[in-house]
Point group: C2
Chain length 317, copies 2
């Protein structure tokens, strides 16, 4: 089967997203390296506009819309970083954004998204399906759906994080990224393997939301029944139809981390790198810090994928 994206798609995305997505810094920490026993290059997508890598994919899709599509607007379902990114990108091009969010989503997230000018449509998580609501809006208005991960433009956009990282770090033995639906890792793996065919690709998941780990082992997409983790951005129950074949092609292994390891890593990154990384964004660093990579890796690119979290949650860590 042909994969949904190629390296050239990521390179095109890098040119397209420039007006909206920041080139985020790459940080290093001798303290982290000494403790982890590997030289780590942290790609700080927590410092991305909107606070997460999601801006890259949303920008890539929305900046490629034709004028008449922009007039009809965009729709997304998300209670998190993807919602904010879609709202910011839509506002930038002058498209109306409708975001479908659970009625019980945290008030701060609803407010942050609506502050970007998006229209929020809430639904009852127990009785309604968000995909259906979004599809209804698309049918009624002709708006373009901006899916959270399973779309070639989204995957290619997310891959620009690895393109920038490798441009700054130079050759690396390995690359690791958090895996929710797999859009970030699929895009990053595609471009990284094109630049350095020998680079070893890893994903990171919470032990309690290990759908991609299970799927890769099974050789087919498996649903993890009740993903429950503080890494709320990684609660996706199974990898995407388009992302999974890419992950199968390129991923050597998925490293699993515990909830305690995630919490400790968030604190460690805060105090040693002096950046705020949300639990979902820190699973990649947790895997490195807690020795989940196989031997023989001297340098690793680590995608820190987002930095949106409550102060109260952090203070409790």
């Amino acid at each position: 089967m042909e994969l949904a994206i190629q390296a050239a798609d990521v390179r095109r995305a890098a040119e397209r997203i420039h007006p909206l997505a920041r080139r985020t810094p790459v940080l290093t920490s001798t303290g982290f390296d000494a403790r982890a026993g590997v030289r780590a290059f942290f790609k700080c997508e927590n410092l991305q506009r909107g606070g997460a890598f999601k801006m890259r994919g949303a920008a890539n899709l929305i900046l490629s819309l034709a004028p008449d599509a922009i007039k009809r607007g965009v729709v997304a379902y998300s209670s998190g970083n993807h919602a904010q990114a879609v709202a910011i990108a839509a506002r930038h091009v002058g498209a109306r954004a409708t975001i479908v969010m659970p009625a019980d989503a945290p008030r701060t997230k609803i407010d942050a998204t609506s502050a970007q000018g998006a229209t929020i449509v809430t639904y009852n998580r127990l009785t309604e399906e968000r995909e259906r609501i979004a599809a209804d809006i698309v049918e009624r208005t002709g708006a373009t759906l901006v899916p959270p991960f399973d779309h070639p433009m989204i995957m290619a956009g997310q891959g620009t994080a690895a393109l920038e990282l490798l441009g700054e770090s130079g050759p690396l033995d390995a690359l690791i990224a958090p895996v929710g639906g797999g859009g970030l890792l699929a895009g990053c793996a595609t471009i990284a393997k094109a630049i350095e065919p020998a680079i070893r690709i890893f994903g990171a998941e919470p032990e309690s939301a290990n759908d991609t780990y299970l799927s890769l082992r099974a050789g087919e997409r498996v649903t993890a029944p009740h993903p429950d983790t503080i890494a709320d951005g990684l609660r996706t129950p199974r990898p995407g139809a388009l992302t999974f074949p890419v992950l199968q092609q390129f991923t050597e292994a998925i490293a699993l981390v515990s909830e305690d390891e995630i919490r400790e890593t968030v604190k460690y990154l805060l105090l040693r790198l002096r950046v705020l990384v949300e639990p979902s964004g820190a699973v990649s660093a947790a895997a490195v810090l807690f020795g989940k990579l196989p031997p023989g890796i001297a340098s690793v690119g680590v995608i820190l994928s987002g930095g949106n979290m409550d102060f109260a949650q952090l203070a409790g860590f």
Copy 2:
């Protein structure tokens, strides 16, 4: 009186410190700008090696030492970011570093400095004077004293932060930096005024450690009797003999911020910029966020000077 440094000293420092000091990122936040009513460009010295701008001055002085001076080692007195910076820079050139620290300094700070290979000499804060202890070591060993701020090489090194900032931000209406002993602001003002003569220069101090504010008003160096603030890096009781004339020459005003404003700003920068800035490093941003700048300023460079603090302290904010 001739000032202790000129813009050319800062430019030379920028070439010299390159092996040791990072070019730190400049971040922006549309949320901050909207709330503060001004476009802010944050120079993230909290992401500097060692976690503070202090690396710049220490690197500038220590990298300019002759081989025989390196053999005799360096001495510094500091319980904070300057100690760490001197230890890191000394280790880099292979010089022995002796750091004079109060015996009751936080264990974590002593450990962090000694982890960099420095020899720690402790003293009793109530009965001994650190300057005297350091002078004794210099006399006995021929080591070079690396003062925390009142030295041309230190001032010139700190100024490289503003040189990098203006190179990235483009022209700015104003620049603001925290003021302890005044080395950072003196260096930054010197180079900023040389690049943009019309730029307006501001310092920021805690209301409860306002020695430079008082000194500029008095037209001479004044001692603030008992500086007491959570901004522990700014408890210096009076500006330096060399830094003060530079501040007099270039500074339009010192903005004063309350302890509550500092705490709120640390939290705001954490959640909106997603970076950890210690209280001392956040007074500049606090002054902007709480409207302490005069009218007529549309864009401002804000030096976030450091990011070293305890998790427990942060969690209590």
